[in-house]
Symmetry: C2
Amino acid sequence: MGAKYTIPHEVTSYECDVNGTMKLSTMIAIVIKVSEEQSDVLNRGSDFTQQFGVTWIITHYETFITRLPKVNEKVQVTTQAKQYNKYFCYRDFWITTDSDEELVHIESIFSLMNYTTRKINSVTDEIIAPFGSEKITKIKRPPKIGALTDPKSVPFRVRFYDIDSNHHVNNSVYFNWLIEALDYDFLTTYEPQYINIRFDKEVEYGNQVESLYEVVEQEEGKKTRHAIKIADKTYCEAEIEWQER
Amino acid sequence: MGAKYTIPHEVTSYECDVNGTMKLSTMIAIVIKVSEEQSDVLNRGSDFTQQFGVTWIITHYETFITRLPKVNEKVQVTTQAKQYNKYFCYRDFWITTDSDEELVHIESIFSLMNYTTRKINSVTDEIIAPFGSEKITKIKRPPKIGALTDPKSVPFRVRFYDIDSNHHVNNSVYFNWLIEALDYDFLTTYEPQYINIRFDKEVEYGNQVESLYEVVEQEEGKKTRHAIKIADKTYCEAEIEWQER
């Protein structure tokens, strides 16, 4: 397992929603920043990977939330490259309080994508070695995401501010589309405690996406299922379990 | 004139758009954070003003941009309460580089609004004294914003993540609506160098707003005019001058 890399972060009011807890999109943007910083420190930043015609993409997050970071809270954001196989790198993130209470744990899957072909590249030693993660042969499969049966749908235009300097719609933006499909009462009554999300295809600037969702009845708490689609093609699927705030 | 208050800020990639320069909405959110911090340091934070049944609102920004802060740049964000009269407080902001080059200068007008009546309250000594700003009798009027003659219009729903812990649509969100009305070519060719924006009414969660805009032809650079409307009522007006990037 690789070395951990940590930065402190103080949660600002503009990073939080009406509940005073961190927006999911901001939370993802911040953890990704920490992994980018670790790559830079190890001289494996985007300038280095670009030499090989590849860039990191994230295909999956499994997120376990004890509670969301709160406005003005001082937290530590940690990342660790854990393992990798031929095509997939397994990286974890944690958000903890200053007294080391775990608030959020994220297990993610990264791959290298070829800029030109847009296909997955195999993971090379030159890029991965400094992270010190363990080479494995096993392919780890996250839990399956249940199919939608009778979803409702809300349209979203991809905005100029949704694309990053690589002309990609940042992964964090998908969380806005999932969340904004739900209503005010739901979002102020429940807080996510588990999120399983898979990214299948790249959404581009100018696209109009449909954010599909349905609430799955269950004995305790709530579960929602989500998909991001363009013209019946699935770009992203997610399942979120919620607890009362 | 009041004391200056400064915090350092390192510009992250998720705070920037495809041009690698800071999103206007993020820039405004950050400067407001600095004024909130100054208020907290002076024991005049929201807990204090709430005792009097009032909250700060911002009715105007005049923004002068030499260049926008860039990704990974280390900047200083400074605020200073300059002057006030019976109903208006004049507060300035600056974003400067670590070598003291001025990137952005913002002149803003704050007022105190009564929570219950939603009307403007007079500025009281108890709230304003610690900022050390100068009492004046003059009412300063920012430049007039030209009327739209033949605007185009783009609709936006107010999103859950657009409202802050006070249940207001944060001022910074209006900048998203202005910017997103313009197209990719315009936004990657031109950078704002002057923004004059006035906030007239409060937009609420659940509203659908229209972002109206037109490009005003002029000899050098570009000028755009904007309005945010709901059902023919004007909530915000703005004028932006642009220079080539």
